[in-house]
């Protein structure tokens, strides 16, 4: 019997963003509808016209299988999302121009629970470790292109129990629209990541975690992302 020769395995370098990571608020129809009546009241006064973005700063990046520390006494939410990773194809002869979507990464967007979207959410979303990264940036071609993302479903498990399924068919702005509307006022650069947003549960909340929990985000075509939550070590 002829032995099966396996191809050399490339060393596994877990993905980490090299640019700015932008999150998107209110990009799922369910949450947008829950918020509709509040959008016209003070302090918001009118629904947003452009995508509402926030930044996940570099101190939030937690690689796949890493641990995320929970501040003492805080209510912390987890949420599944996809991030579009901007870049140019690995081809020196590629035409110059604005970078396109090179690939997509699974993300666990962690936040301190908050019920106002009025002020920029630095204190709630930029806590050390609060962005769980998937293991790899999956090439857009392997996923069937930007339009095919709308057919995708993201699963969020806590300690093995399914807690939320996010259907990307429920996006207010799909990947192509979001990208184009963001690029209309802000040039995204190679290495930047644009998150499509996160959905809420039917009651408007998001799943909460406590020390000892393990959260796994998964979707077809992606290796899943798991992060372990622990108590903050204040020593």
């Amino acid at each position: 019997m002829t032995p099966v020769l396996s191809a050399p395995v490339a060393p596994c370098v877990p993905y980490q963003p090299s640019g700015t990571v932008y999150g998107t608020l209110l990009n799922f129809r369910g949450e947008h509808a829950l918020w509709a009546s509040r959008m016209v009241e003070p302090p918001y006064k009118a629904p947003p016209q452009a995508p509402v973005l926030y930044v996940k700063t570099a101190n939030t990046f937690t690689r796949d299988c890493g641990t995320i520390a929970l501040p003492a006494g805080a209510s912390v939410e987890v949420a599944a999302s996809l991030g579009l990773v901007l870049g140019w194809p690995d081809d020196l002869l590629a035409p110059a121009g604005a970078p396109g979507v090179l690939g997509v990464v699974l993300l666990n967007d962690v936040a301190l629970a908050h019920d106002s979207y009025y002020r920029p959410p630095v204190k709630t979303r930029c806590v050390d470790g609060f962005l769980g990264l998937g293991p790899a940036c999956v090439g857009l071609g392997e996923l069937g292109g930007l339009a095919s993302l709308s057919a995708m479903r993201l699963a969020l498990h806590i300690n093995g129990e399914l807690r939320q399924t996010t259907a990307l068919s429920d996006l207010v702005r799909d990947a192509a629209s979001l990208l184009s509307e963001v690029n209309a006022f802000m040039g995204l650069r190679a290495g930047d990541v644009l998150m499509l947003g996160t959905d809420c549960l039917p009651d408007g909340t998001r799943p909460r975690v406590k020390p000892g929990d393990s959260v796994t985000i998964s979707a077809e075509g992606f290796a899943s992302a798991t992060h372990h939550f622990v108590s903050e070590d204040l020593s």
């Binding site: 700015t20 930044v55 700063t57 570099a58 204190k123 930029c126 006022f185 040039g187 290495g191």
Partner: protein
């Protein structure tokens, strides 16, 4: 010592100010002096390590007079937002007024560059920058005058606040907010922001 990062003769160089000129620090041309007008000024920051995008925190309403100008009451805790690194431009660079914008203004701000990793820093351990006068001119007319002593949250307080929940790394920036006196800027306007002891930064709204 004032440091610069410039493009000159087809390459990027670190430089220091020396007797009214820039002295280049690149080994091959070390000691070469070039006039201020002979270079393209880049943001005066060393490049970030790979996989570590720069964090740029900016303060809203950190001067009581400006908070009043914008009809807000003074915030009870720092009101921060984050800017992407792509937003940085250098001295004498052009910035764009997007179409259909109704009001676009400069904000003269003291920016703090983090020098070493900062996590759970106490404000007593942070040096407070001196009291510095700041001012802005638009097309030569003074529009903004203030003083860093009038910040609601001073630099040590800000570093204690942010580093309590986020670890700051060398090269990260904190933009400490602006006093009152912002006016709408149109294409072609030349905006010069100045801070005592630091110098002047000139930018033009692109036509």
């Amino acid at each position: 010592m004032k440091r610069a990062r410039v493009a000159w003769a087809g390459a990027v160089h670190d430089a220091v100010a020396c007797e009214g000129q820039l002295e280049l620090l690149t080994p091959a041309v070390r000691g070469q002096r070039v006039p201020f007008e002979g270079v393209v000024w880049l943001p005066p920051l060393p490049p970030q390590p790979a996989q570590r995008p720069r964090t740029i925190l900016a303060l809203g309403l950190n001067y009581a007079d400006h908070a009043k100008e914008l009809a807000f009451k003074a915030p009870e805790e720092p009101l921060a937002f984050v800017k992407g690194e792509a937003s940085l431009i250098g001295h004498r660079a052009f910035t764009v007024r997007p179409p259909e914008v109704q009001f676009m203004h400069y904000e003269c701000e003291l920016a703090v560059v983090i020098g070493r990793t900062a996590k759970r820093v106490k404000k007593a351990d942070v040096p407070d920058p001196m009291n510095l006068a700041l001012s802005t001119t638009v097309n030569g007319t003074i529009t903004q005058q203030g003083h860093t002593r009038d910040m609601i949250f001073d630099v040590p307080t800000l570093i204690e606040y942010f580093s309590a929940f986020m670890t700051l790394q060398p090269g990260d920036l904190i933009l400490t907010g602006t006093p009152d006196g912002v006016v709408d800027c149109k294409p072609g306007d030349v905006v010069v922001t100045s801070i005592e002891g630091l110098g002047s930064l000139e930018n033009t709204i692109a036509v």
